[in-house]
C-alpha cells in the first residue's frame, strides 16, 4: 500500500470514527468534543489533496469558530450530561428513508463523475489561485456572499440586543 493511501485511510478512519461518536453518543458533551476529530480529519484530507489553504481555513473556521461556539452552547446548558436524548430511538423509518435517498444520489454521483487524476502529486500553493479567482471571474458571488454575511452579523446583533425602554432601575 503506498504511503498516501495509508495516510488517507488513517484520516478517513479518524473522520468517520469521530463522526460516529458525534451521532451515536448518549452524552451531548462527548458528541460536541468528538466533532474536533471530525474537523481535524477533514482538514487532514484537504491537506492530503494539496489544498493547503482550504485545510488551514477549515481548522480556523470550524474548530476555532463553530466548534467553540457549539461547546459554549453545550456548556452553558444546565445538567446537559444527564439529558438522555438518543437519536437512535426516534424516527427510524424517516432516517432510513433519508439515508437511502442521499446515499443513492451520492453513490450515483461518485460512480458517474469524471475523476481527473494527476500523473504526479501536486504540491503547488493554492492561495494565489484562490485570491485571483475571487477577485477575477468570481467577484460577483464573492461580493454577494460578503453581503449575506454582513446581513447575518447585523441580524445576530439585532436578535441578541436587549431593548432598553425608558429609565432603567440603575439609572
Amino acid at each position: 500500500m503506498p504511503l498516501e493511501a495509508s495516510v488517507f485511510y488513517l484520516l478517513a478512519a479518524l473522520t468517520i470514527g469521530s463522526a460516529l461518536i458525534v451521532a451515536l453518543s448518549h452524552n451531548l458533551v462527548y458528541s460536541a468534543f468528538a466533532l474536533l476529530g471530525t474537523f481535524m480529519g477533514v482538514a487532514g484530507l484537504y491537506a492530503l489533496l494539496a489544498a493547503d489553504f482550504v485545510a488551514v481555513i477549515q481548522v480556523m473556521l470550524y474548530i476555532g469558530g463553530i466548534l467553540v461556539l457549539i461547546l459554549f452552547a453545550v456548556m452553558l446548558t444546565h445538567r446537559i450530561a444527564d439529558v438522555d436524548v438518543s437519536n437512535r430511538t426516534v424516527g427510524r423509518i424517516p432516517a432510513a428513508l433519508i439515508l437511502g435517498v442521499v446515499g443513492t444520489v451520492m453513490g450515483v454521483c461518485i460512480g458517474t463523475a469524471g475523476w481527473v487524476q494527476h500523473a504526479e502529486p501536486m504540491v503547488e500553493p493554492t492561495t494565489f489561485g484562490i485570491g485571483e479567482a475571487f477577485l477575477g471571474p468570481y467577484i460577483l458571488p464573492f461580493e454577494l456572499a460578503s453581503v449575506v454575511l454582513l446581513v447575518a452579523l447585523i441580524g445576530a446583533v439585532v436578535v441578541s440586543r436587549k431593548e432598553l425602554r425608558g429609565p432603567t432601575a440603575d439609572g
Partner: protein, 396 residues
C-alpha cells in the same frame, strides 16, 4: 532528510521493514527529539526567567539555588511534578479530564512547525504558515474548554469559558494585525516574510510605516490575551477562580498546563520577531561557513524573541488584571477598528510609495531610540536615588 532515510533503507539498515513503517517511526523519533531537546529547555528557561525577572521587579531574589543562578529550577519542578500523585476527582469526566492537557500542549507544539529559527532551521516552511499559526491556536481553546468542563467544578468551568471567549474574540484583532505584513510581502510563508525584511532596524516591518508600528503592538496585545497573560489572565484569576481551568489538576497534567502557557509565551515572542523584527536577518558577507552563519542567525532570533517575552514578564509584574467587560470593550471597540484602519492605511501607503517611504523608517527608528534613551535615563535616575541593594548585587 527524506533522501537520507531512503539511502538508509536502500542499504538495508532496517533489514527489509516496509518503508511505510519506517517513515512514521523516524518522524516520531525526530518529533520527540525536537520536543525534549529544544522545546522543553526553551520552556523551562522561560519559566525560570519569568520567576527571576518578576522577583527582581518586586525586590525579591527569586529561585537561585538549583544550578548556576537557579537556571535548573525548571528541572527540579518538573521532577517534583512527575513524582506527584495524578489525582482525578471522583465527579470528573475521566476521559475528557485526562485528555484535555494533551490537547493544550498539542496546540502550542504545533506552532513550532512553522517558526523559522534560522535560514535553514525550520521544520516545514508551509506556504500558509502564518494562517496556520492563527488557526492552530484554536486547539488550545478547545483544550481549555475541555479541561474546564471535565473537572466538574464551577471555578474550572468559569475559567474555561472565560478563556475560550477571550481566545475567540482576540483572534480577530490578531488576524487583522497580521494583514498589513501579508499585504507588504504578498506571502503567508514565515520564511518569505523574513526574507522581505533586512537586518537593519529601518528594514524591519515594525518601522516600515506608522500603521505597521501600531499593528505590531495591536498584535502583541492580542497575543497576550490569547495566551491568557496578565493583564488578560482573567481565566485563572487567583482572587476569583482559584486557578481557573487548572484548579483540579495535579502532578504531571498540571505541569503540562504550565508547559503550554510558557511555551505559547515564547511562541508569541517568536512570531513578533518573525513578523515585525526581521526574524533571523543578520548582515551577510562576513562568513562563508554555513554552520557559523546559522548559529549567529539563531542567536539573533532568540534575542529578538526574548525581548518580547521579557516585555510580557515586565507587564505581568507591573500591571493589575483588567475586568471581563474592560477586556471585551478593548477588543471590540478599540483593537478591531484599529486593525481595519491599519489594513486600509497600509494599502494606501503601498499605493503612494510602492517601494516604501525612503524617509519615514529612519525617522521612526531614531524616534524610538530617543524614547528609549529618555526612558533609561529616567530609570537610572530613580535607581540612583532609591539605591536598592539588589541592583548593585545582581547575582545574589
Amino acid at each position: 532528510m527524506q533522501s537520507f532515510i531512503d539511502g538508509l533503507i536502500a542499504s538495508g539498515v532496517f533489514g527489509g521493514l516496509p518503508a511505510e513503517a519506517i517513515y512514521p517511526a523516524i518522524m516520531f523519533l525526530f518529533a520527540s527529539l525536537v520536543v525534549f531537546g529544544f522545546v522543553l529547555p526553551i520552556v523551562t528557561v522561560t519559566i525560570w526567567l519569568e520567576r527571576r525577572v518578576w522577583a527582581r521587579i518586586q525586590s525579591r531574589v527569586g529561585p537561585n539555588r538549583v544550578g548556576p543562578q537557579g537556571v535548573l529550577q525548571g528541572l527540579a519542578d518538573g521532577v517534583k511534578n512527575i513524582l506527584k500523585e495524578d489525582v482525578v476527582p471522583d465527579a470528573a469526566d475521566r476521559p475528557l479530564f485526562v485528555f484535555a492537557p494533551y490537547l493544550l500542549v498539542w496546540g502550542f507544539l504545533a506552532t513550532f512547525v512553522v517558526i523559522p529559527f534560522s535560514s535553514a532551521l525550520v521544520i516545514a516552511d508551509l506556504n500558509v504558515g502564518l494562517l496556520y499559526i492563527v488557526a492552530i491556536v484554536a486547539l488550545s481553546a478547545v483544550g481549555v474548554l475541555m479541561a474546564g468542563w471535565a473537572s466538574n467544578n464551577k471555578w474550572s468551568l468559569l475559567g474555561g469559558i472565560r478563556s475560550a471567549a477571550q481566545v475567540v474574540s482576540y483572534e480577530i484583532p490578531a488576524g487583522l494585525a497580521l494583514l498589513p505584513v501579508v499585504l507588504l510581502t504578498g506571502t503567508l510563508s514565515t520564511q518569505g516574510i523574513i526574507q522581505a525584511q533586512g537586518w537593519a532596524p529601518w528594514d524591519w516591518f515594525l518601522f516600515h510605516s506608522p500603521f505597521t508600528f501600531i499593528a505590531a503592538f495591536a498584535f502583541y496585545i492580542s497575543a497576550l490575551a490569547e495566551t491568557n497573560r496578565t493583564p488578560f489572565d482573567i481565566p485563572e484569576a487567583e482572587s476569583e477562580l482559584v486557578a481557573g481551568f487548572a484548579t483540579e489538576y495535579s502532578g504531571f497534567r498540571f505541569a503540562l498546563f504550565f508547559l503550554a502557557e510558557w511555551g505559547s509565551l515564547y511562541v508569541t515572542g517568536a512570531i513578533m520577531a518573525v513578523l515585525f523584527l526581521g526574524g533571523w536577518q543578520i548582515p551577510t558577507g562576513w562568513t562563508n561557513n554555513a554552520v557559523v552563519l546559522n548559529i549567529a542567525q539563531l542567536t539573533v532570533f532568540f534575542l529578538k524573541a526574548y525581548f518580547w517575552v521579557f516585555l510580557a514578564m515586565w507587564i505581568r509584574a507591573t500591571l493589575p488584571r483588567i475586568r471581563v467587560d474592560q477586556m471585551m470593550s478593548l477588543c471590540w471597540k478599540y483593537l478591531v477598528p484599529l486593525g481595519f484602519v491599519n489594513l486600509v492605511g497600509t494599502a494606501v501607503w503601498m499605493v503612494i510609495w510602492p517601494e516604501g517611504n525612503p524617509f519615514v523608517p529612519y525617522l521612526m527608528v531614531f524616534g524610538t531610540l530617543a524614547l528609549l534613551v529618555i526612558f533609561f535615563r529616567r530609570v537610572l535616575y530613580h535607581l540612583r536615588r532609591a539605591k536598592p541593594e539588589l541592583y548593585f548585587n545582581p547575582a545574589i
